[in-house]
Homo-oligomer: 115 residues x 4
């Protein structure tokens, strides 16, 4: 059996967190995965994502060709992977942090009222 | 009842996606939330996250004071929020994209074998 | 005389390099100014620059109000300062590197020919 | 004579600015070179620069192999090129902006006094 052909089907952030922890462990990456390094790796992936859009118009950015969209999905995945890994290394709950921040944003940016 | 004091308890990426869609809709933000702009906003938040670590040693970055960790959690949340929003606008499934990318990474970086 | 009110009038990259070296020395910053940290600080400033443009249309980005333009000039300056400092720490000549890269770009992107 | 083999020897920011303006003009790039797009391109290059350092220790980042240093010099050049181009498009004087910002930094961060 070829270990490298393993496929993943993570359905929750917790599952993804566990799989990434295992993945890093198997490769002896933990000593490289400090929060400082992971925050750098994350922004590098965020830039690879932005690169796809840098010369596009707003309209073009909303209407990607299938091949391009596939590449963009991979870059989005890379950002998500490093973000999940960083949160895990800092013992931060991603879903709880996002929920709390949404509450703060709701106060900072009240919804438009209709008269 | 004060709408702005609403609290959020998203447990899944799907729920977060729906809440963010509703949040943007209530504020008439959809016309600003093009993929091009969201990819920019995402990297700006990734930089605010990195800023916390830029002058720290690797060791210091693993041992944040509670107040600092709280701020870092908010920045992580901001990145996650924009990432989720961008994936939604492009009709990309975050969990599926991450799983697929992990499979590719497993091929690219085979685990260390122990002899 | 108040040292902190010193004003600077650098006319060349060499002069800026020397002043920044002196500035860092006076503040005992050299041990923090490793290439790794400076590359992080540089991208953080690049993000503060991008932040001014993230929700603007292309047209709006070309027509900044004077107060906004002043803020953008400060962010551009911050990027330039860290870039100069990083080049100095790596003993790289900024003007020579840019000239060499332009030569490579000229080969990679030949000018449009008019028939 | 082959135009694409042109070599550049810019000695000042002004000269680099003029050459880049000419370079963009010859390629009909001005309509893409809005401040918004250039600020994105700049941060993408800043990330390619950071990528070289992301898994290095502080010490390793100060002691690059010659081949690596060459690559880093090219990334530094790319950041400098987009920065110069952006300043030009906004009619901002790079050297003057850096000098002014250094004056502000000198007030914000007074030098250590020795007793």
């Amino acid at each position: 059996m070829n270990q490298t052909s393993k496929s993943y089907h993570c359905r929750t952030v917790e599952e993804l967190t566990r799989e990434l922890r295992h993945f890093a462990g198997e490769r002896d990456w933990d000593r490289h995965h400090t929060p400082k390094n992971l925050a750098s790796a994350l922004i590098v992936e965020a830039a690879e994502l932005l690169e796809h859009f840098q010369w596009l118009s707003q309209e073009e950015s909303q209407d990607l060709a299938p091949e391009k969209k596939k590449e963009v999905a991979h870059e989005i995945a890379d950002v998500f992977i490093y973000l999940t890994r960083l949160a895990d290394r800092l013992d931060i709950d991603l879903m709880a942090a996002a929920s709390e921040k949404m509450g703060l944003n709701a106060i900072k940016y009240p919804p438009k009222t209709h008269t």
